[in-house]
Amino acid sequence: MAELAEVDDEQFAALKSAAEEGVQFDGLYAHYGREDYDRDPDAYAFGSPAGEHTKLDAEAFREAAESAPRYVSNWYYWERVVEGHGTPRRAFLRWLEGAPSDMRDESGLGVEDRYERLAAGTSREWGQLLVRTTVGDRGHRRYEVRHVDDEGAPLDDLDVHESPLDAREVAKYDPKGRYRPLKTAPSLQRGWAFTDLDGRDLYECVDAFYPATVANWYREREGALDVTHWEETAERQTGIYDVIDELDAEAVERIAATCCVDSQCLKRRQWDHDEDDEIDVPRGDGLFPCREPCSLVVAAARKWTTLEREESHSYEFELTPSEKEQLEELVDAVADNRVDEIREADVYEGANRYRTRYLREKLFDEDGNLAGVATERE
């Protein structure tokens, strides 16, 4: 029997000893001793959706386990390898393979279904990450992370990393080599993969790409996300950021529309002006929540605070209709990060470099004043 066994000896031994306390997990049931009137006090019981076996001696218990090996290795993986009940890490790993949360009443895939899918590899997106889970030897899951847009790329074409912390370097620069100060900006570079990770390393890797997103996602699904709204964050600031609570509600709304929409940040904004005063800007469709204005937003808000202190002036400029439109196109091109896409000779684009240089030649004086009109400052 032993040489044909699909159940690993160590895992079986662990199950046998756990049976004394009683095991009930993901459809697996294992028990030793009397639990209710029709069970034998000195026997094992083993059950799975495939059937129940009772009044088993040790050998028969092993045979019963062999009839449902996936349930045994699945139990071992979650209860002896992953552990961490009530942690974001465990909840995330379970979510990755479509397993029901074991914290709450929730439907999910059964063990057999999951193993079928894991055999082929099952993938989920997390921001711009694609996380693929497979099941390896003895039920141990292995994880792979790559850019969503590299889904079908052969590994040979990718920079393969094994250390999850290499993700810090990958996440540091965008495809043009510029520093990414906001980790959840949708500007992850492509061309890399993290392979053969275990559960802990996978969590470490995802947390390096998108710090604290799993922890906050977990809190949110447990109904315990601690949102800090703008007003509280602004009032808490000291030092050079002390001033940002001056901004009025409209300015805060502009900030959310500027920084927090999906095109700029993959977090789903859950903070508002305050609890009773929602900001009327789309929150985004991201999987993971943003629970508080981030440091980038706070730092930018400081600049906007000082800018908003200025009074407006009337200036008089003469512009042709096309010049006015060109200025509008220029602002759009910068705001939408399109400048690099505009071809050098595409003079039909207002934000084209030649068009812009021409406009400057025509409209700016030698001090850089638009239409020769000096800027008025008190």
């Binding site: 974001p88 100060p181 947390d207 604290a212």
Partner: protein, 298 residues
């Protein structure tokens, strides 16, 4: 379970600001003294607000990767970590003697052992000396050499100058270098006049900063006359008014800093086994590689 969380300033603009923090975290992680090792930042992610929830341990040792006690260690970090009942008096510090105090984090319920900054720990003196060894490539450097410890002056933070003076005095007491002097960026004695403060021909200049950035790569090299334009870089050593100036760059990049972090946590009660000794040994081995980085520039 126990976790180490190193908290640092970070930057929205400078990609290298976090590098020393990451490197020292990796060194500590590699010795396996903690179940978890994480970094958190004021300006990067995970933020100070959210770093605690990224570790599973109930006991978290928080070590500020800052040079001195002051605004960040006393106000910003405890506030952002939500340390319940934080009171700077619990540190009972004279400005350089903060040790640790224990609080509960209001959002996670973890026990947070909040340590004083790395910059004022006694073992920081060893790092300054090690930095001098690294930059000169001489493990016995001292004889015939002067050493300057450089920091901001009191303008920004009174305790910053105290930390500089504290370590300068401790290096002086060891009698290893012919002369030791504390110099400042915005007050007397000024780093600009470094040549006036030393008789020794060779002077090692060690800025007490945790990471390289504008001050250590642009300001100080230009102020001392190592270069007229930081973008062109500078020699190590560089000739200035008849002295050979060995400019070391930020002391925080020295691999031995990992030891200071560990000692801070150990002093606060973390069980680190023999990790302190192991790290001291390992960082000595990596020193040859580290001293290769001399001139700043791009």
């Amino acid at each position: 379970m126990q976790a180490l969380v190193i908290v640092a300033h970070g930057s929205h603009l400078n990609p290298d600001s976090s590098t020393p923090t990451y490197e020292h975290a990796d060194t500590v992680r590699a010795v396996g003294a903690f179940d978890e090792v994480k970094t958190g930042f004021w300006k990067e992610e995970p933020s100070l607000r959210e770093v605690l929830r990224t570790v599973e341990s109930d006991d978290v040792y928080v070590v500020p990767f800052f040079v001195s006690e002051g605004y960040f260690t006393e106000e910003v970090i405890p506030r952002e970590l939500r340390l319940d009942g934080w009171d700077v008096a619990d540190w009972d510090s004279d400005g350089t003697s903060a040790d640790h105090a224990v609080y509960t984090a209001a959002d996670t319920g973890q026990r947070v052992h909040y340590c004083g900054p790395v910059g004022t720990h006694d073992s920081m003196t060893d790092v300054i000396v090690r930095r001098a060894e690294s930059i000169t490539g001489d493990p016995n450097v001292g004889d015939g050499f002067g050493l300057a410890v450089v920091g901001h002056g009191t303008e920004r933070n009174e305790n910053s100058a105290k930390a500089i003076e504290y370590h300068a005095e401790r290096v002086r007491e060891r009698g290893r270098f012919d002369e030791v002097q504390a110099l400042y960026m915005d007050e007397e004695p000024e780093v600009d006049d470094v040549a006036d403060y030393f008789e020794s021909e060779d002077v090692v200049v060690v800025p007490l900063f945790v990471a390289d950035g504008y001050h250590t790569q642009e300001d100080i090299p230009e102020d001392m006359g190592l270069t007229d334009d930081y973008r062109k870089g500078y020699d190590v050593p560089a000739e200035v008014d008849g002295h050979r100036i060995w400019y070391a760059g930020a002391v925080g990049t020295e691999p031995l800093m990992a030891d200071v972090i560990l000692e801070r946590a150990r002093d606060a009660g973390a069980d680190v086994g023999d990790a302190v000794e192991v790290v001291r040994e390992r960082t000595r081995k990596t020193e040859a590689a580290a001293s290769g980085s001399s001139a700043a520039g791009d």
